[in-house]
Symmetry: C2
Subunit: 155 residues, 2 copies
């Protein structure tokens, strides 16, 4: 009877303690999604805002599959794209409005401006992260109209 | 000693059983993200592909905050946009290439075509889901160029 009572009493408290440990472990370290978000946003800042290929390349995998149809493929394609940005649009900056991540993908919703007085462009960038490195990129880019049909803005 | 031995033996197996139950519960029902993805994709199909406002409105909240700068705000704005699509681009269709969800947001990466022989458009739609209803929408739209700088395609 003593053993049975001890069994009954400890069972509940052990389950509670185990659940608490799992919750603590989850809270104590950033999830893989949070790590991927940090990689994507730091890469974006280095490549697009600072236009620093050496800094950006720290985040790159050995290959970089490019889906932006105006940029050449691969790591060297990114180098050329950053050179182009620095020469042609030195004041281009992207302000990240929201970050959405699932699995190995990170989505950045960005307001891009060029310091030319226009409303700029709405951009969605999607990065695929593999083993802590950025290995693939898609984007969609649209000019923000001066006369929108609603007052909510594009972000 | 009997009690202590029972305690020691049962502690491990209870933790394992509790963990297994948590895993089973997670696997048995679709996650909130999967539910949100289903809502967003079914809403997209009703509104954009079938151009059926009555069907689409089943998924709508009492308000619908529109960030597409060519559409009027709100539920009535969506009705007008669907009417416009049906009249002007009856063959427009969006093929959903990937779905990325986090929190209350669902991202659709879409290849939109109009059956006119052009490469069509790359679109990212972002929907916010609240209490099982679509309540907010952003998008970014870009024509797919006929002569891209790489062979990877925009998807």
């Amino acid at each position: 009877m003593i053993a049975a009572e001890l069994y009954r009493r400890t069972a509940g408290s052990i389950i509670v303690a185990a659940a608490a440990l799992v919750a603590l472990a989850a809270a104590a370290q950033p999830s893989q999604l949070e790590v991927n978000k940090r990689i994507a946003t730091e890469f974006y800042d280095a490549a697009i805002n600072r236009k620093d290929f050496a800094a950006a390349s720290q985040y790159l995998g050995s290959d970089y599959k490019q889906h932006n149809p105006t940029a050449a493929d691969g790591v060297e394609g990114l180098r050329g794209f950053i050179d182009f940005l620095r020469a042609r649009f030195p004041n281009q900056r992207g302000e990240i409005k929201r970050v959405i991540a699932e699995g190995d993908l990170v989505v950045l919703h960005v307001h891009s401006t060029r310091g030319d007085g226009t409303p700029g462009r709405a951009i969605v960038d999607i990065f695929r992260i593999e083993n802590g490195k950025v290995v693939e990129h898609w984007d969609v880019i649209q000019d923000i109209p001066a006369q929108p049909a609603n007052t909510n803005g594009m972000f």
